[in-house]
C-alpha cells in the first residue's frame, strides 16, 4: 500500500521553507501548515513583504549597510561627522555600534574578513572600495572595529598596512569584546567601552 503524504505543492513549500536559516524540518512543516490553513490574508501579506523588500532593499553603494536608495540613511545623513570612518566586518555590525551613540561618523562594512582557512582573500572583500573612499573622503581618523580574534586582528593589520602613511590616524577599538565573538553578540556597555577606549595603531 502506498503511504499517504501531503500534496506535492505542500511538500514543495516545506522544502522551500527549509532553506531559511534556523528552520528545521519540524518548523518548516508547522509554518507550511499555518500558511495553508490561515483564514485571513496574513500569508499573502508576508508574500508581499518578501517581494517588495527583495526589490527595494540593497547594499548602500558607499558603506554596504542596508539601503532603499543608492545611499543608506547613515551615509545620506548630512549631520554626521564626515572625517571619521568606522570599519566593520559585516553590515549587521553597524546597528549595535549605532545603539551606543558613541560614534557620529560613517561606516564601511567589508563583507567579511580575510580568512585563508575559509578561502576568503582580500579580493573577496570591499577593500578596494575602502581605499577609494580613503583617497576621496579626506578622513582624519579611521577606526577599526573588527572581531578580537585571529582573523579580525589579521584583517585589521592588513588594512593598516595599506592605509598607513596617508596622514590618516588609524585606531582600533579597545579589546574587551568577548574573545572569539563577533560584534552582534556583545552587549551595549562592552561596545561603548570598546569604542571610547580605542588605541592608536
Amino acid at each position: 500500500m502506498r503511504r499517504t503524504e501531503y500534496p506535492e505543492a505542500l511538500r514543495n513549500l516545506i522544502a522551500q521553507l527549509r532553506q531559511m536559516p534556523g528552520v528545521g524540518p519540524r518548523s518548516a512543516e508547522r509554518i507550511a501548515l499555518w500558511i495553508v490553513q490561515n483564514k485571513a490574508d496574513a500569508p499573502e501579506q508576508i508574500a508581499n513583504a518578501l517581494r517588495s523588500t527583495r526589490e527595494s532593499v540593497r547594499p548602500c553603494a558607499l558603506c554596504g549597510f542596508f539601503a532603499t536608495q543608492e545611499l543608506c540613511d547613515i551615509c545620506a545623513d548630512e549631520s554626521r561627522v564626515v572625517d571619521l570612518l568606522c570599519v566593520v566586518e559585516q553590515p549587521t555590525d553597524i546597528l549595535p555600534l549605532e545603539k551606543t551613540s558613541a560614534f557620529r561618523g560613517r561606516y564601511h562594512s567589508l563583507g567579511g574578513r580575510i580568512s585563508p582557512l575559509d578561502h576568503v582573500g582580500p579580493e573577496d572583500l570591499r577593500i578596494q572600495q575602502l581605499l577609494d573612499r580613503a583617497a576621496k573622503e579626506k578622513f582624519s581618523e579611521i577606526i577599526f572595529a573588527l572581531a578580537a580574534d585571529v582573523e579580525g586582528e589579521a584583517t585589521t593589520n592588513y588594512l593598516v598596512d595599506l592605509l598607513k602613511g596617508k596622514g590618516i590616524s588609524l585606531t582600533r577599538i579597545a579589546h574587551g569584546l568577548p574573545a572569539g565573538g563577533g560584534l552582534e553578540n556583545a552587549d551595549e556597555l562592552t561596545l561603548y567601552q570598546a569604542l571610547s577606549g580605542r588605541t592608536r595603531l
Binding site: 580575510i114 582557512l117 580574534d149 585571529v150 582573523e151 586582528e153 589579521a154 584583517t155 592588513y158 598596512d161
Partner: protein, 348 residues
C-alpha cells in the same frame, strides 16, 4: 571526585551507567571488552577531549549520530554530547555557551601503555603532554593554543598558495607572534614546575640512582618576532612556518645522555611514568587532586615497580585502573572491582 558516569553511544557502548568511589576502582576484562572506552568516557566528560585521540568523531558509536557522556563530579552535574557539528555542554543542568566554567571543575591525568612515546617518540607527543597539563592549570592556555594554531594554519595556507600572498602573510605575523610568545612562556613555566616532581617521582619508582634532566626546548628564539623575520627565506622555500611553538620540545636526559636514543626500554618506561606522576603532583600542589586513569600498565611492570608506582600515586586521588586480569594483585586488596563482559559491568 567522580561519583557517577553514564555513557550513551560512546565507542562500543550503546548505554552504560556506573557509580564510583574514592580510591581505586578496577575494570577487568578481556581484550576488546571496553575497558579503555570507559576511561576515555571519563576523560571526555571531565576535559572535553580524549587522552588518546585529538578528534572526538571516532568516539561516536558506529551507526549512531552522536554520543553523550554524563556524570557527577564533586556534587556538580556534567553533561556533554557530541555529534560532528553538534556539541552541547551542560553544567548543573544549565546549557553552557563556553567551556570555561565547565572545565574549571576537574583535573585528569592519564597513564597508558603508549606513554613510552613521550620519551622515545616525536616531539608532538611531548607538546601534547604539555598542552594536556597546560589547559588544566592555566585558564588562558586553551584559547591561546587555539589562536596560535589558527594563526599558524592560516599562515601556512597562505605560504602554500600559488600566487604570492606576502601582505596577507605579514598580517598574520602579529597574532602568530603574540599568541606564540604567550604559549611559549606558559610552556616554559610548566616545564619548570614539572622538573623537580619528575626527578622526585623517578627517584621513587626506579630502583636506581639515575640522574634525570628535563629542559624546555623552544621552537623559536627568545625574540620570536626577529626569528620569524629572519626565517622568511626558508619559509618561502619550504612553504610553511619554520619557527615557533609548533616546534617546541622537551629534552630528556638520563645520566646526561639523551633518553630517546640511549636509555633502555625499561628506563624509558620508568621515565615516562615519572612524567605522568609529576603531572599529577603539579595538580596536587595547585590544590586539586586529579582523577587518575590508568590503562593497562600494571601488568607490564615487575612486582617491585608495580608497588613503587602504587605508593607514588597521590594518595588522595581517585584512580580508575584497567587490566585483563587481577592475578598480579595478590598483595593489594584495596578498591572495588568491576568485571566487563558482553558490554555489561558486574561488581565483583
Amino acid at each position: 571526585m567522580l561519583t557517577q558516569l553514564q555513557l550513551r553511544n560512546f565507542r562500543c557502548f550503546e548505554s552504560l551507567a556506573l557509580e564510583l568511589d574514592a580510591g581505586f576502582t578496577f575494570f577487568i576484562g578481556g581484550n576488546g571488552e571496553g575497558k579503555t572506552s570507559i576511561l576515555e568516557a571519563a576523560c571526555v566528560l571531565l576535559r572535553l577531549q580524549s587522552q588518546r585521540t585529538s578528534t572526538l568523531s571516532p568516539l561516536v558509536r558506529v551507526g549512531a549520530k552522536a554520543f553523550a557522556v554524563r556524570g557527577r563530579f564533586d556534587e556538580h552535574a556534567l553533561e556533554f554530547s557530541y555529534g560532528g557539528l553538534h556539541r552541547r555542554l551542560k553544567f548543573d543542568d544549565v546549557d553552557q555557551r563556553t567551556a570555561t566554567e565547565y572545565l574549571r571543575l576537574a583535573r585528569v591525568v592519564s597513564f597508558a601503555n603508549v606513554d613510552i612515546e613521550l620519551v622515545r617518540g616525536g616531539s608532538d607527543a611531548r607538546r601534547r603532554y604539555l598542552d594536556f597539563l597546560g589547559t588544566q592549570i592555566e585558564p588562558t592556555y586553551r584559547s591561546t593554543l587555539r589562536a596560535y594554531e589558527r594563526a599558524l594554519r592560516s599562515r601556512n595556507a597562505l605560504l602554500k598558495s600559488a600566487t604570492p600572498r606576502t601582505r596577507e602573510i605579514a598580517a598574520y605575523d602579529a597574532p602568530l607572534i603574540e599568541n606564540g610568545t604567550r604559549l611559549r612562556d606558559m610552556r616554559a613555566t610548566i616545564v619548570d614546575r614539572l622538573a623537580p616532581f619528575v626527578r622526585q617521582a623517578h627517584h621513587e619508582i626506579s630502583v636506581t640512582t639515575e640522574k634525570i634532566d628535563i629542559y624546555f626546548s623552544p621552537g623559536a628564539a627568545e625574540d620570536f618576532a626577529k626569528d620569524l623575520a629572519e626565517s622568511r627565506e626558508k619559509e618561502l622555500r619550504l612553504r610553511q612556518t619554520v619557527v615557533g611553538p609548533h616546534r617546541d620540545d622537551v629534552d630528556l636526559f638520563v645520566d646526561g645522555m639523551p633518553a630517546n636514543s640511549f636509555a633502555s626500554e625499561g628506563q624509558q618506561r620508568t621515565l615516562a611514568l615519572a612524567l605522568k606522576i609529576a603531572q599529577a603532583r603539579v595538580f596536587a600542589a595547585s590544590g586539586s587532586s586529579p582523577l587518575l586513569l590508568i590503562d593497562d600498565i600494571f601488568g607490564e611492570l615487575d612486582p617491585d615497580r608495580r608497588n613503587a608506582l602504587l605508593r607514588s600515586l597521590p594518595n588522595e586521588s581517585q584512580k580508575l585502573v584497567t587490566a585483563t586480569s587481577l592475578q598480579w594483585r595478590k598483595d593489594f586488596a584495596e578498591g572495588h572491582v568491576f568485571e566487563l563482559q558482553d558490554r555489561q559491568l558486574h561488581l565483583r
